[in-house]
């Protein structure tokens, strides 16, 4: 077992591959959420009869927290202190971020959201599994497809049929065991 040294466990900041632009943008987004919180918070109506501090104070406090912490993070990143990316058994910290896979996975989840109603849950879920497995590099395609179909049917049966969760059955409409 070789443990990489530059990602020493527990170290607060460590070198991550790639330029810090993304990290900087993320910190700036935190600041801007705080700013939006202030602007939109000013629009919150306060009933005149309110006997306590009203509905605005806490949103303002949270927005202030985000602005201050976000600004601190921007400074930290600019000074070269980077966040240590999350570790995990299946994570290869040496690998560069594979944006294409992230895009594909997100795309299939989005597609799934649009297909649930017209095609029914089992078909939409099978497509999601099939697409995600393919994006993550599983081959051959027919095994992925078989697994996807079986998984979707089993889930529809267990949750739609047995536990009574109202998943739209799609083409399985009328088969009682899959929930109607």
């Amino acid at each position: 077992m070789s443990t990489s040294v530059q990602n020493a466990p527990g170290s607060g900041t460590a070198a991550a591959p790639g330029a810090p632009v993304g990290e900087l943008v993320f910190a700036l987004i935190i600041v801007s959420i705080g700013v939006v919180g202030f602007v939109a918070g000013a629009g919150i109506q306060t009933p005149p009869s309110a006997s306590d501090i009203g509905p605005r104070a806490f949103p303002f406090a949270v927005s202030a927290l985000l602005v201050v912490v976000g600004a601190g993070l921007v400074l930290q990143v600019l000074r070269g202190h980077r966040g240590a990316a999350d570790e995990g058994e299946d994570v290869d910290l040496e690998a560069k971020t594979d944006w294409l896979t992230v895009g594909k996975l997100s795309g299939f989840v989005l597609l799934h959201a649009f297909l649930i109603v017209p095609l029914g849950w089992p078909v939409a879920a099978a497509l999601l599994f099939f697409g995600a497995a393919w994006s993550l590099g599983a081959r051959p395609w027919w095994r992925n497809l078989m697994t996807a179909i079986i998984l979707a049917l089993v889930l529809q049966f267990v949750f739609g049929g047995l536990l009574g969760v109202s998943l739209p059955p799609g083409f399985l409409e009328g088969f009682g065991v899959f929930g109607g």
């Binding site: 077992m1 607060g12 601190g72 570790e87 594979d98 992230v102 989005l110 497995a133 599983a138 969760v165």
Partner: protein
């Protein structure tokens, strides 16, 4: 309330938990919990979040028993993975993973698994006994405190979870702030004004906690792992020998003291919000290393059984300790505890100091089911290790695709609208970037869940004091709590620095080439394999 009363209440709890139906639910819970604990990328917090929308049809007691089983099962499963999987795991478990992993490589994997399982059982049982005795007294104290003290306790929870759980204080606080912010979206509970809804009817009801949790845990994790998936075969260290002969006399002699010490360290650390099980396992590991003598001491970093026994016990004892503030005060200090709190809310069980009085049957059934679940785990875990290894070998593309499918299932089941799946994706992408840039997830979930309770208590406090913020620190109890907070902070910072140096030292030592084989003898490896390595795909069970 006397302890005799509590004893009778506990016995009633057993009477509930021992009903065949509930035993079955507990069994299901511990099995699912162990399975997800074994699988990388899925934890008990994610599982409880995923199961919540799809277990609506269960009655509250059954659901809570299932979740309790998952909570304990996840701990057992996690140790199996860190011992048998040949990749560096999370930093939180790195020291234990190191010793267990080295033991497995030296052909002593069976002993490592056994000492972890029995140690978890011993620690879990003792800690659950402590929980049954301590919790009613804390609860009796808790019902007397007012909103001001409650605010103080939640400030402690926020700051310790936010600043101490992750590796970077600012990132933890940013994560906390994001959670608090999302919790604000929707109607204000006190004045019914819309906040941050931007005129959208979908946001008027607020963003569902379960939806956000599933998105952060499941979708964020799947996207993040997908972006950096470790390719190639899954290397699992084979375990040899029948499981009945796993813990030898010598191993037992070296393990029992670390188990007890680990329990003694883990339970108190779990009850205070000082970084959770991480700190407990580290403290236990460091003390075992210090206490070891002679030949045993040399094995540290190369597969010392004490280094598995102590921290695993501490880990489980801390898990029981976490339940003390959760059940008595309604304050979660870990992500899993936060999800348990959501489960209570879902079933309209009021959490907070009144829980022990208003729902004593349920609470005692939950505690009794922890005893039962612990015993089930001990009995099942070792014989079923072959199954757990099978689960570990699930091809990763299928594992993470499956996680995505379960996530969309859970999200859709919240309100049965596809819009929730789109919100799931958006929050999931946020979770992806948080993981990538080193922002911890747990503070966000805790902020999301405690935020609304905190705000209402804060406003109640200030209404009583007519807007004077000084009142928040004037009560002696609240002032004491804030002082304790400062002490916890100072200690934790010190401890973290030590931990960092210590881990760097351990890792450096462990990479040294010489492997001390302990008392293991190499020929044992030739025995019939209980579990198959990826290259030898035979499934002879013992």
């Amino acid at each position: 309330m006397s302890s005799v009363d509590n004893f009778f209440l506990l016995m009633e709890g057993f009477a509930t938990a021992m009903q065949p139906m509930y035993l079955l639910y507990a069994l299901g819970g511990v099995l699912v919990g162990t399975a997800v604990g074994v699988l990388p990328g899925i934890g008990p917090a994610m599982t409880v979040a995923l199961l919540m929308p799809i277990t609506y049809s269960l009655e509250p007691t059954a659901a809570i028993i299932v979740f309790a089983g998952i909570y304990y099962g996840g701990m057992y499963g996690g140790s199996t993975t860190s011992i048998l999987l040949n990749t560096p795991g999370e930093s939180s478990s790195i020291v234990t993973a190191l010793e267990g992993n080295k033991m497995a490589k030296a052909g002593r994997g069976a002993a490592a698994l056994a000492t972890a399982a029995v140690g978890s059982f011993v620690a879990g049982t003792i800690a659950t006994v402590l929980l049954s005795f301590v919790a009613p007294y804390v609860a009796a104290f808790a019902v007397q405190i007012g909103p001001v003290e409650y605010v103080a306790l939640m400030v402690v929870a926020f700051l310790t979870v936010g600043a101490l759980l992750g590796s970077s204080v600012l990132r933890g606080l940013a994560s906390l702030g994001l959670g608090l912010f999302i919790a604000l979206v929707g109607f204000d509970a006190l004045t019914a004004q819309q906040r941050y809804t931007f005129g959208s009817p979908f946001l008027a009801d607020g963003i569902d906690v379960v939806l956000v949790a599933v998105a952060l845990f499941a979708v964020g994790e799947a996207l993040y792992v997908g972006s950096r998936l470790r390719h190639g075969p899954i290397k699992i260290i084979p375990v040899t020998g029948g499981w009945t002969s796993w813990l030898r006399k010598e191993d037992l002699r070296r393990s029992w003291k670390p188990w007890l010490r680990g329990t003694a360290i883990g339970f108190p650390v779990g009850t205070i919000p000082a970084g959770g099980a991480d700190v407990a396992t580290f403290l236990s590991y460091a003390s075992e290393r210090k206490l070891a003598k002679g030949e045993n001491k040399k094995q540290f970093g190369k597969g010392a059984i004490e280094g598995v026994a102590g921290p695993e016990a501490a880990n489980n004892a801390a898990a029981a300790g976490v339940l003390v503030p959760l059940l008595t005060l309604g304050i979660p200090t870990t992500a899993t505890a936060a999800m348990m709190l959501v489960a209570f809310q879902r079933y309209q069980i009021p959490v907070g100091p009144q829980l022990f009085e208003s729902n004593s049957t349920l609470v005692w059934a939950l505690i009794a089911s922890l005893y039962v679940g612990n015993l089930m785990l001990l009995v099942l875990n070792l014989p079923l290790v072959g199954i757990w290894v099978k689960i570990l070998q699930i091809p990763r593309p299928y594992l993470y695709s499956g996680i995505l499918v379960f996530a969309v299932l859970g999200a859709f089941s919240v309100n049965f609208t596809p819009i929730d799946v789109i919100i799931l994706l958006i929050v999931g992408i946020l979770g992806f970037f948080m993981r990538r840039y080193g922002y911890p997830i747990a503070p966000m979930v805790v902020g999301l869940i405690l935020g609304p309770i905190f705000e209402s208590q804060l406003r109640r406090s200030l209404a009583i004091s007519q807007g004077d913020p000084v009142a928040l620190v004037q009560s002696p109890v609240a002032a004491t709590i804030y002082v304790v907070l400062v002490v916890i902070f100072a200690l934790s910072m010190l401890l973290k620095r030590r931990q960092r140096q210590f881990e760097a030292m351990v890792v450096a030592n462990a990479d040294a080439p010489d492997v001390v084989r302990g008392s293991a003898t190499a020929p044992e490896t030739a025995a019939a394999p209980v579990t198959s390595a990826p290259d030898t795909r035979e499934d002879t069970d013992r």
